[in-house]
């Protein structure tokens, strides 16, 4: 066993896929360490390489080159040892057999880990209760709603009490309540059990809420790595303000260098202005200018940068899903 101090360590992982005559570079050299006990997020757009990365870590796919260790075991040589200590849950997963009910399906999966039935069933019942699926225990899987199905998938991932849990967009397609429930459960589970979770997502709020550290993958490469607050700090080079003002002339053009009016919205007789300032010190100049035109300030709010701002800055695209289901 090498690099046993880390939950995951990768050195220059590359993966290419051959599609007809084309070579697609899904991963272009990922080097990363994830500490034991860490909740690590991998953020990226669809097709960025997140799933390929998780597949390699969970022994489902070999890298084309590079090395990776999970729990100290080499993903190519020690797959069997890794499978003893991990689990993987994917969003929208449809594993299991429609003819079995929820409890039976989960029991079947537990048997592939050799868990004695008495222990497995107790564990299953506990999780079914925790996830609010107790009443669906005897419902056939084919009759479950998407949210219930995904909760069942997550329970499957927890059955072997894995040291390292890989979650590939686990809340995709879920309603707000189910997604929130799953997030809250995961936060508690990792603390109570001293486990490691590696989560891929394209929901900003999810990554922000759960991850202690996160990596942004774009085009098969890590383009940034840090804590969510460090990412937000990256966006703090510019300052955003929201001003609620009274008597704002329709024709007024703010012409101060370093001040940019992003939007103006009328609301209850007032106007809400969204402003970007190059520096905070420009605020007094702006307020003085407004005062000169007879505009009265009612409310001033400094807008904190979000992970979305950081992501958009880094990736340079705004097509990402930021709904945070």
């Amino acid at each position: 066993m090498e690099n046993n101090n880390y939950a995951v360590k990768t050195i220059d992982i590359k993966r290419t896929f051959k599609k007809s005559s084309n070579l697609i570079n899904a991963l272009k050299g990922i080097s990363l360490t994830v500490n034991r006990g860490e909740f690590f997020g991998v953020l990226g757009r669809n097709g960025a390489g997140k799933t390929t990365f998780l597949k390699i870590l969970s022994t489902l796919l070999y890298p084309t080159s590079g090395q990776a260790w999970v729990g100290g075991w080499d993903v190519q040589k020690d797959g069997q040892n890794i499978r003893e200590i991990i689990n993987l849950v994917s969003g929208g997963e449809e594993s299991g057999y429609g003819i079995l009910n929820v409890r039976e399906n989960l029991w079947m999966f537990s048997q592939f880990y050799g868990i004695p039935s008495s222990i497995a069933l107790k564990r299953i019942d506990k999780y079914l209760e925790m996830f609010g699926l107790k009443d669906q225990a005897k419902t056939r899987v084919s009759a479950l709603s998407t949210g219930m199905r995904q909760k069942m998938n997550l329970i499957r991932g927890l059955l072997n009490n894995p040291e390292i849990l890989f979650l590939d967009e686990p809340t995709v397609g879920l309603d707000v309540e189910s997604a929130r429930h799953i997030r809250s459960f995961l936060k508690d589970w990792i603390k109570e059990n001293d486990r490691t979770i590696i989560l891929t997502t394209h929901y900003m709020l999810e990554a922000d809420e759960l991850s202690e550290r996160l990596a942004i993958i774009e085009g098969g490469e890590i383009i940034a790595l840090g804590t969510p607050s460090e990412f937000k700090g990256l966006s703090q080079t510019e300052n955003f303000y929201e001003l609620t003002v009274n008597n704002f002339p329709e024709s007024l053009d703010i012409n101060i260098e370093g001040v940019q009016l992003i939007s103006k919205l009328p609301q209850n007789g007032n106007t809400i202005l969204k402003i970007r300032l190059k520096e905070d010190s420009l605020l007094s100049e702006l307020l003085a200018s407004l005062n000169q035109h007879g505009t009265k300030l009612e409310l001033l709010k400094k807008k904190e940068p979000t992970l979305e701002d950081a992501f958009v800055n880094l990736v340079g695209k705004s097509s990402i899903d930021v709904s945070g289901a």
Partner: protein
Amino acid sequence: MAIDFSSLPAYLRKFLLSLWAGWKITSNWTEPLLFMVYLIVKPLSSVLILIVMFYVITGSFTGEQLLFIYVGNAFFSIVRAGVSSVWVITEDREWFETIKPIFISPGSYLSHILGRTSAEFLFSVFSSVILLVAGFFVLKLPLGINLPLFISTIILTLIITTILALLFCSVAFFVGHGGEFIVEGASGFLYLFSGVIFPASTLPTFLRIIAEANPITHLTNFFRASLGVSAAPQVELWKFYLISLIILALSYFIFNRALKLALKTGMFDQKLGH
């Protein structure tokens, strides 16, 4: 895709698209040459089994009995196409998961089933013709052709194949991962009770009643007669058409009832894989 069906009425469009898809699904799995082998090797092997069985007992490759068996078996591969169409439901629901988009698209689901069944029918007619040609040239089987009767029989076979497709698809709505068992089980039943490899008169009386009531027994005999193997059955052809069309209407009714029940119970799109 170069073919454009967009200007056609929805039912016809769906039928033709499913016919085209049936061809693609069955043929596109490997090289065209291997596909041809596939169409020939399977039926050829099954008829060779019968020839060897015949040879083991009689020590000969000729005789009226062999002719009876050979032609009956060649015909049965067409009948089997009707039963094989239950695969459409299994594939649509369990594997390709296309049952919902196909069902909600314009044109009925039945058009889709009929399109796929027709693809199977055409494949099997092709196999059957190859077998007959091989029998004529290799085994020197004394085959002739009564073209009007042959065409009439093929049209009747298409009707019968459709009936089988409708009836067995009605069952397939309510079973999970079981298409292959339905095909095998139903084929076993039809193989015994359709006068395919032995005359119905070989059966004991209580089983003979089933075989003689089975329209496929008479259809098999019409097919033999169209190739000059035996005299045409006593039943008049127009009566046979009439009976077949009545059964077709009944099968259509059963299919619609089954489809409604499957939709009502939620089984239509429920994956049951095991």
